[in-house]
Subunit: 145 residues, 2 copies
DNA sequence: CATCTTTCTTGAATCAGTCAAGATCTCGCG
DNA sequence: CGCGAGATCTTGACTGATTCAAGAAAGATG
């Protein structure tokens, strides 16, 4: 039914991390790729546009599995539900609008891993620094309330 | 009943930000101060140790109000419930253990506002940079699984 | 093609956090 | 020091995202 379609090679991505290639997972990958920073509900909707009968549970499970495998990344700004993106690997962060919740990608000013070296890490072995910038997006800036 | 006790002047803190001084708020401030990084449930328990009949709703409301006033700060690492602390004002961040969820304070290596200047903020007006370091705490490092 | 696992479907359950209405308490003023 | 207005608290029910569980279905391997 879906023999050959020239999208990003999601199948290969799955095989590369030793995950089974299933319709739900492909649909979820596709959905996340097409809607960066989308919340779970939107991803479920987008995935169903490709595969009408996916259960929400399969989407949740796929997102967890894919997140664990590093194919997608999840971000959960305070006060927001979980959101996902396929941009992984590069060290980028996010700006979140306090007013409307809009999210955008930003590369840190430093360019490289910035604050990864905390002065005193209390003995913790740090492997990732997550940065969230809070502020107002252009739209909300121009029309305050 | 509780005429004079030499604690931090929470009453003054409340008045300084034009908030009414109520028993629940004092209890919540005290609880958060005594248990940094505690989750809401712990704070409710700690507040009830001081004021047995506080409703969970009053605690939630107090936390929101105090957070809005800047007397307490809330942090919500992904996969964790909301946690609170009274350390506000200074620009410090947090390390979170991926394994046990333990949280510790850290000052950024740079010492000052570090990544506050994102290279390209997409027009967002940024007012705060929140940094969360992910890793393993000393305990979880020494005994892997 | 057959078998073994992993993954998906269905349906119910959990739990933090929120909403709403009325009672109570703080604060400012006379 | 007592009163009144308005903020704040209590009670109790509810929402909604996420998770759990058991059986059915589909992918991988030989």
């Amino acid at each position: 039914m879906l023999g050959d379609m020239p999208r990003p090679d999601f199948q290969k991505q799955l095989r590369d991390v030793a995950l089974r290639v299933t319709r739900p997972r492909l649909a979820v990958l596709e959905a996340v790729h097409a809607h960066p920073h989308a919340d779970t509900e939107s991803i479920i909707a987008a995935a169903r546009a490709l595969l009408p009968e996916v259960s929400h549970q399969a989407v949740y499970d796929s997102l967890h599995t894919l997140t664990g495998a590093g194919l997608v990344r999840s971000i959960k700004p305070a006060g927001s539900v979980a959101r996902y993106e396929t941009r992984t690997g590069d060290n980028h962060h996010h700006v979140v609008c306090r007013s409307c919740g809009e999210i955008a990608d930003v590369d840190c000013a430093v360019g490289h891993v910035p604050c990864l070296t905390a002065s005193d890490s209390h003995g913790f072995v740090i492997d990732e620094a997550e940065v969230i910038y809070w502020g107002l997006c252009p739209d909300c800036t121009s029309r305050p309330q």
